[in-house]
């Protein structure tokens, strides 16, 4: 255990200078800091002494809290990144945008028609899109943002859902858009509307009804009255006979994903 603890020290506590071999300089809101070369922007800011209140969330690229805008040395181009997923570069000139001012309109999804019309109703600014593609360039998830806004414009819910699915709502697109669209809100509504065009699969409806009608009550009564040994025995039997988990041919389990039935 101690060996594991030792090996992970840099990640679990602050970075120790003695372990660092290479350094770079990054500029955090204009101030230069010498930081270890091989870390993320987020780790670099912490190394430099910032303790995040805003600007850190999941630290794994899922929540969009650490949206960062930056330039690299000698390049006029504006770039975007997630601080937790991006390595520092020497000469990086950065700032964080932890919040995008964008109120979401309230709607009752059950009252809205499951087609494209609510999109223009709640977000008429979508029609201001000039197809400049700045949103796509700003997206740290490499999504084709303009394309999904264009799909929203013509009411193609399926295309919006497909193209916007991996959106983590970091807000960089909305901050950069000259037409002042709030793309991720449009996409969220579109996805929900699209979801409502897809019926709940029958097998789910059937099972819900079965449970509500008490189909499993007797079985559960038995289970809840069993001793630990009895449960263990039943578990062994279940896993061995029906699910195939203890079977030698476990490739059956993983190959078709369906197991035996």
């Amino acid at each position: 255990m101690d060996r594991i603890k030792e090996a992970n020290r840099a990640v679990t506590t602050g970075i120790d200078d003695s372990a660092v071999k290479h350094w770079v300089t990054v500029y955090i809101m204009g101030k230069g800091y010498r930081v270890p070369a091989d870390i993320t922007i987020m780790q670099a800011m912490e190394y430099a002494g910032y303790r995040f209140v805003r600007g850190a969330g999941c630290r794994a690229g899922f929540c969009g809290a650490c949206a960062t805008v930056y330039r690299t040395a000698g390049d006029w181009r504006l770039k975007t990144a997630l601080a937790c997923q991006t390595r520092v570069e020497d000469g990086m000139f950065l700032v964080q945008i932890p919040f995008t001012p964008a109120e979401k309109p309230a709607y009752d999804i059950e009252e809205e028609p499951a087609d494209g019309t609510p999109l223009l109703k709640y977000f008429p600014e979508v029609a201001r899109c000039v197809a400049c593609n700045t949103c796509t360039k700003a997206c740290p998830q490499d999504l084709e943002v303009m394309d999904y806004i264009q799909a929203a414009l013509r009411g193609d819910l399926a295309a919006v859902a497909e193209l916007s699915f991996d959106c983590i709502q970091c807000g960089l697109c909305a901050m950069r858009c000259p037409a002042e669209i709030t793309h991720y809100h449009v996409a969220q509504l579109a996805r929900r509307l699209y979801g409502r065009t897809l019926p709940v699969p029958k097998h789910v409806l059937d099972r819900v009804e079965e449970i509500e009608s008490g189909k499993y009550e007797d079985e559960f009564e038995k289970l809840l009255s069993m001793s630990r040994e009895e449960l263990e025995e039943l578990y062994r039997k279940e896993q061995r006979e029906k699910g195939g988990l203890n079977s030698r041919d476990a490739s059956r389990v993983t190959r078709n994903g369906q197991g035996e039935r």
């Binding site: 030792e6 091989d38 309230a106 929900r192 819900v208 289970l223």
Partner: protein, 554 residues
């Protein structure tokens, strides 16, 4: 450090030899399948020897509070046996917000509680959700692999029950577990009706995958963004209903009435240092887990705010905890590159067929054992058999043979079913369709917590709990896909139960911090040093050099 080593497609050259061996053995391994699953006895033996929970020195008995004498990890005990951040005597407790239900925590569980309390008839302006970071910042949003629900004909809630029991070493609370598995299909139906986009096949039915320890495939996923999809849909619904919301306002202490019933909380604005007093007829605690405590020095999959705050607050108010002696280490956390060490590599990768392979290219364990067993097996391979890779920073790891997924399910599967992971590795120059990925166990889940009944009620009146902060439903080890389910099912139940509880009740007459008095005395009597304070609120990763030179002048 990477500049010294020559990288070939993202990996240091010296790792390439091992990767070649993995490639060489792949056709045979695809044909033969992995080693078979272990028997219950074999699992127990492995755990005893290699699982961090069993290694000595990591835990100690608590010296104060409702669970005095019971064992908890040191890092958790340090927080449970600690003095409040506030000076109870010096704080003016004039009420700023008066609500029926105060919800602490903005993940899946907290959001569900709000919506369902509203469904039960509590007006939205009488419900306040306070969260430490943003609404949505939680472990929930990072959940990748799926949500279990026994909704296919070949499956049933009783089988789901058994699977979870087995995974939990038969220590799960049966009535609570029954609620979990019985509500699951309804939750899936309800989410779908809200517009949640679970993966479907060409026939429109849900694609359901295997998980570790399950005897049927029943994992509902939305690519590998399952938690994010579920949470953003219910958060969108939350935002349309007009609830009170306070962000960056963690609770730093619960409030009680003179009878010891929970009556609200003291919230602290992390940006302005101002505190606010909330009086509530009921409090729903949905504050999540404790990964940022880095138990036993492990890296973690958890979000920035997972610091066990809720556990501490509930404990001080007299809530009974359970199963604190177990901690879930996810068997596959990223081990390379350094920038993503500890991050979750979802079990779905194994569910889709990737085998766990050592340095020599051999699959050494059945890939879908329950998580504790799987983690122990990897630790054994790395630190006992030493048949592992060592990264440039000294971490050890084994391979997860992701290219197998493309072989089994067809080209394009990884991009389609695991886009988040594919994207993450691409950012660091690694193509997981072509090369295996390096993994090692990482601190992942709080199996235990505040004990609850099937409706989220605790032994403290007025206190409801839901989600990762609770204990009992998963026993001593949680199965994949049961955590998001836990949050959804018990978030809903706690919301309903809290709504029922507050009906016809008057607001608490007085709010006090008196429940701290007895607890503090217990700590002093046990000799707990005064400097120890909790809740932690945020972990500290600032560079040591900077910390050594820091002075607080404002």
């Amino acid at each position: 450090m990477a500049e010294e080593l020559k990288l070939v497609r993202g990996y240091p050259e010296y790792m390439r030899k091992s990767i070649e061996r993995v490639e060489a053995s792949r056709p045979r391994r695809l044909e033969e399948g992995p080693p078979p699953g272990m028997s219950l006895e074999e699992r127990e033996e492995l755990l005893k020897k290699y699982h961090p929970d069993y290694a000595p020195g990591g835990k100690r008995p608590l010296v104060a509070g409702p669970n005095k004498g019971e064992v908890a990890p040191n890092e958790v005990a340090d927080l449970l046996e600690a003095y409040p951040l506030l000076e109870p005597g010096e704080l003016e407790l004039k009420v700023d917000f008066d609500v029926d239900i105060l919800i602490l925590g903005g993940g899946l569980a907290g959001t569900m509680a709000a919506i369902w309390a509203h469904e039960q008839g509590v007006p939205p302006d009488r419900i306040l959700l306070a969260t430490k970071l943003r609404h949505g910042d939680s472990n929930s949003i990072m959940a990748q692999g799926g949500t279990q629900a026994a909704d296919k004909p070949y499956d049933s809630p009783t089988i789901h029950f058994l699977d979870a029991m087995g995974g939990g070493h038969f220590t799960n609370k049966p009535d609570v577990l029954k609620a979990l598995v019985e509500d699951a299909p309804f939750i899936v139906k309800w989410l779908t009706e809200l517009g949640c986009l679970f993966d479907r096949d060409e026939n429109g039915e849900f694609v359901e995958e295997w998980g570790g320890g399950t005897s049927r495939p029943r994992m509902h996923a939305a690519r590998d963004y399952t938690g994010m999809e579920e949470l953003r849909v219910i958060r969108d619904e939350f935002r349309s209903r007009g609830f009170g919301l306070l962000e960056f306002y963690p609770a730093v202490e619960l409030l009680t009435d003179p009878k010891g019933r929970v009556a609200g909380a003291v919230l602290w604005n992390m940006e302005t240092d101002e505190y606010k007093v909330v009086r509530a007829k009921a409090v729903v605690l949905a504050t999540g887990g404790f990964g940022r405590l880095h138990i036993r020095g492990f890296p973690t999959t958890n979000h920035y705010g997972a610091t066990a705050d809720g556990l501490v607050l509930a404990y001080r108010a007299g809530a009974l905890l359970r199963d604190l002696d177990t901690v879930q280490y996810h068997p596959t956390g990223a081990a390379y590159p350094q920038q993503i060490v500890g991050l979750l590599i979802t079990e779905k990768v194994r569910g889709l067929g990737a085998q766990v392979v050592n340095r020599d290219g051999e699959a050494f364990v059945f890939p879908l054992e329950p998580r504790d067993v799987e983690a122990a097996a990897i630790i054994r391979e790395c630190y006992d058999r030493e048949n592992c890779l060592v990264t440039p920073t000294g971490l050890r790891g084994v391979w997860l043979d992701s290219p197998m997924i493309e072989e089994i399910h067809g080209e394009g599967t990884i991009e389609r079913r695991l886009p988040a992971m594919f994207r993450m590795y691409q950012r660091f120059g690694i193509d997981m369709r072509r090369d295996p990925i390096l993994v090692f166990p990482t601190l992942h889940y709080q199996n235990g917590g505040v004990e609850t009944d099937p409706w989220g009620r605790t032994n403290v009146e007025g206190l409801f709990v839901a989600g990762e902060v609770t204990g009992g439903v998963h026993g001593k080890n949680r199965l994949m896909g049961n955590s998001t389910l836990d949050c959804l099912v018990f978030g809903r139940r706690a919301g309903i139960a809290a709504a029922e509880y507050v009906k016809g009740k008057k607001a608490p007459q007085t709010v006090t911090l008196d429940h701290l008095k007895g607890f503090v005395e217990e700590l002093r009597a046990a000799g707990v040093p005064e400097e120890r304070r909790s809740p932690m609120l945020l972990p500290d990763y600032r560079g040591k050099r900077v910390l050594a030179r820091m002075i607080d002048l404002l």
